[in-house]
Every structure is written in C-alpha cells, then in structure tokens.
Amino acid sequence: MRCRKCGERAVLNMRQHKLALCADHFAEWIPEQTQRFIEKYRMFRPEHRVLVAVSGGKDSLGLWDVLIRLGYSADGLYIGLGIDGGTGYSAESQKRCEAFAQDRGLTLHKVDVAEVEGATIPEASALTHRGRGKPCSVCGLTKRHVMNRMARDGGYDALATGHNLDDEAAVLFGNTLSWSVGYLARQGPVLEAHADGFARKVKPFCRLYERETAAYALVRGIDYIYEECPYSVGATSLAHKDLLNRLEAGRPGAKLSFYLSFLQAKEAGLLRTESQSSADVLHRCPSCGQPTSVPEKCAFCRTWDQVRARHTVRA
C-alpha cells in the first residue's frame, strides 16, 4: 500500500476515507484535520488561550502536541486522582505529562485531588454511595469540577479535552440505547460557556478515529501511558466501542456516519427537549460558587462533604 500523496510506503490505511498515508504525511494530515474541525465548529481562535486537560494518554497528549504545532497558546492541566491499581497508574500518568511539558517548555498545571480535598478518588468512592462501588462516577464529577474551576480561574477561553470519535460514538450509542434525550441534546463538539460560570468546553479530536490518534502518538514519538485506567475494565463504554468497531470492520465509515448524522439531526433541531431548557436554569453553589442545576450545594460539594465527614469518623 502506497501513500496517496508521495507514493512512499504507507503506514496507515484509513478505509473510511479511502486514504492511505506514509508517516510524514500522516503526521501533517492530523493537524490539518484538527484545524478544520476547530474552525468548522468555531471552537476557538488563534488569539485565544486554551487549557488542555491531559491524562498522560495518547489522545490528550496528542491533542496538546497538535495545538502547539498549530501555533495555539495551550497550557496543560493534569489532575492527580490517586489511582494505583497495582500499576501505579496515576503516578505513571503524571510522569508522562510532566516529561511531555518539560521537553517542550510548556506550562503544566497540576491539581492533586488528595491534597486539595483530603482523599484519593478510590478512597472517596469507598466512602460514598455514589457509583455503586466503582470510582468512575466520583472521578468524573471531580474532574469536571476541577477542570471547570481551573479554566475559569485561569481566564482560559476554552477547555479542550482529547475525546476522539470512538469516545463520542460510544457515548452516543449508550445514550441512544437508553433514549437519554437530555444527554443527547447536550452532546457535541462544543459545550458553550455559561455566564454563571461554566467554561467553554471543546473536543478538537471529535472526528478522528481512536486508531488515528493512537497512530499519531506513535508516529510523533509521544511517550504516552499504554495502560488503561484499572477501573475501566468492564466499563460499558468499552463494550460499546467493541461493538462499534466490529460494525466498522464490515462497513468502513459506520462510526463516522453514526456521529455525523447525529450532529446533523441536532443541528436541524430534532433534539430540543423540555429537559434541555430546564437544565439551562442554573444556580450558584453557596459553597464553591460553581454553577449547579439545584438551588443548594452542588453535587461535587455534597459528595466531598460526605467523604470528609466519613473520613474523619473513621480516622
């Protein structure tokens, strides 16, 4: 198989695009595509400051690499979750992020959850009923809170995450199976900022296959963490990804078509719901000041108050 642009030996065949590229042209193609999506979905402009949430994985470090190559002013944010799982997962993730930033002279903000809130994510999960024994719920809640706070307090114009098309298609698939219309209405490449304190959130990789983001990290020599989060084993989203990949193998482009058709339906107004408008009514949390859908403490503050109270009793 030969590169369509230069005729050299191709390293990746993207069957959904009928496009095979060599390493050099693939390393150029990814930033070109990313820039196209940034403009198409009006994510941010060249003069804007972007905060990239990095986990040490291929998607977030690849995204940071692309944004810097495109000339954007992009700082990183690493959130230390305190997950060990027998492999020192969080420690290894942090090392990758720090090395990436140091090698390129970039600014990396670090927030250690245990230092700030008094417990690691697995400890917090064990002390609450949230998530039925799995820490993913507390983890997601905490990451969203910290990311929003850091983006807002740091005066960033956008918070960028490394979600790829497989992530988006898996979430879409799950929400479609359960007809979670409220979630469907909110899913998209951009979540607009809210005057009450929600930072603007963007996903510049939302139309790139996970295979492409992984290939980009390999071609660029990015040292990312291969291990998955130990708590992701058995996650529903992984089962959905597997199903979608089996579909893709027989029908190239199926994942992309699924996601793009959804975005078109959304743009045509087919997903506007009552639940969407009620969710737009926001209150200010009396404890942390972040926006919340309820006229009392937000879910983050309620959860962590509970964790600290039980932590103290146990101690």
């Binding site: 198989m1 030996r9 191709a10 390293v11 990746l12 065949n13 095979a20 390493a23 994985g57 291929k58 998607d59 993913c136 719920s137 983890c139 997601g140 990451k143 969203r144 990311m147 995450t161 979600h163 497989d166 992530d167 898996a170 979430v171 979540l191 959130k201 296959y209 996970e210 295979r211 983001t213 992984a214 290939a215 390999l218 071609v219 291969y226 998955e228 989060c229 708590y231 992701s232 996650a235 529903t236 989203s237 992984l238 990804k241 597997d242 990949n245 089996r246 893709e248 193998a249």
Partner: protein, 69 residues
Amino acid sequence: MTAQLVLRDKTFDVEAGQTIRQALDRLDIVPETVLPVRHGKLVAEDELLKEGESIRLVAVISGGVEGFA
C-alpha cells in the same frame, strides 16, 4: 514458516507469508482495535509477515469515558 504477533501479554504464533490483516482476521482480533509495529515503526496491515519476525500490536482503545471528563 511462522511469525509472532504480540498483544499486551499474549503472543500468537501465526503463519508467515500472509498479511497482518489476514492473521488478525484468523485470530478474531478486530483490525480497528490494534496498530502493528515492526522494529518500533508503525506499519500498514497489508504488510506481509516475514518468517521468524515478531510484530507488536498496540491496542488503540483507551479507558472508560464519562460525560465530558
């Protein structure tokens, strides 16, 4: 006439002379989920497997994703 495909801690002995994609299909590994790496370099799945060589398969799927986190 064999080659090896290595995915995480598993090693698969496969016939040399076939393409990597053919070998993946026979092992019921969805090609979308892995990237073949030869001597540290990414290679396309239509490459022929050479006798005695070992190809590393990098898993592309990352962990659980929840909401916007």
